[in-house]
Subunit: 207 residues, 2 copies
């Protein structure tokens, strides 16, 4: 019995460390594929089509939305960013697990369109630690940090909509917790029971 | 934040190997406790009160049922067997994970009374392998084996009511899959999100 892949959606407030966790997870699990987003923004130097993004014109992007080929999309600073459905569905069909790192509204849209997907929310160990990490980046003004910090607190309230949470105290531990979630989901009855029952029925009828 | 323990209920057809898997799991995980059943049958030689069973008179057993202190119970060959609630609830409260190895009707009763419990169904890799295992025991007549085999096939249909399944190809692998389920359940939002959100709220209000 070949198992369909699992679509994992990872979100979390800025500074919780979801990017680092996802990187660690992908390095250790070659069967997990990071989904590539589509965008209307121009490629930056060194970026590669199909690796960093699928680069689309506004018209192409709009057509994909109209054709229902976007799991979710959003506009940021005049450019569109979105998650194309076709490539993900093909990978899942082939048994490849797919990882999506997107923000909350996008995550909930994916769940609505693909109820089998697994939503994971990454949390910092504490707000104090979150502030330290935001400050440690050294790339933002104090005001920007304060704004991100308040937003993070608001975002944490939305974890209720997710299936699982990860408290990111240590990257390796957090990544291995996601591996365990993935493994458990591969043993979930609601996902595979008809396949299994059919397999046993076929064997029973021929024996 | 102290996490409540998780109640795991393991069932599966005769010959699927659930007993061996549970034994392996308990040996490797000292935080998991096997729930001790209550029974009205007399202790056999070497059996110890509170280890093999809690031994009860018929009147005591009936009183426990009437007081609602049984998760589930059944009668077999004139004796009663049941799962006392109090000890399990105390362990869960203290953060200890509890393992229950019971048959299906009992498992569904536990789920009804304790919706947070995790129901796991153990499957043989194939019906052929199941028959081989049943025959290999050498303790039953061919007729008894045939009966167990047909029952096993019927029981497999009921896996739909469970949360997770385990295909028992190899005991170590099966036991570690249960460990991964347990670990994933400890990251489940529906189980702990209010505790987590409260923890962050308290920190936010005092900072």
């Amino acid at each position: 019995m070949k198992k369909r892949g699992i679509l994992m959606v990872v979100s979390g407030p800025s500074g919780a460390g979801k990017g680092t966790i996802c990187k660690e997870l992908l390095e250790n699990n070659k069967n997990i594929k990071l989904s590539v987003s589509a965008t209307t923004r121009a490629p930056r130097e060194g970026e590669v089509e199909g690796v960093n993004y699928y680069y689309k014109t506004h018209d192409e992007f709009k057509k994909m939305i109209d054709d229902g080929d976007m799991f979710e999309y959003a506009e940021r600073y005049g450019n569109f960013y979105g998650t194309p459905k076709a490539a993900i569905m093909k990978d899942l069909e082939e048994g490849i697990d797919v990882l999506l790192e997107i923000e909350m509204i996008g995550a909930l849209n994916v769940k609505r369109m693909c109820p089998d997907s697994v939503l994971i929310f990454v949390l910092p160990p504490s707000l104090e630690e979150l502030k330290k990490r935001l400050t440690g980046r050294g790339t933002e003004t104090e005001e920007q940090i304060e704004k991100r910090f308040s937003m993070a607190y608001e975002e944490i309230q939305t974890m209720k909509e997710y299936d699982y949470f990860i408290i990111n105290e240590e990257v390796e531990k957090a990544a291995s917790e996601i591996e365990e979630i993935l493994s458990a989901e591969k043993n979930r009855v609601s996902r595979y029971s008809s396949d299994i029952i059919n397999k046993f029925r076929e064997e029973y009828e021929t024996c």
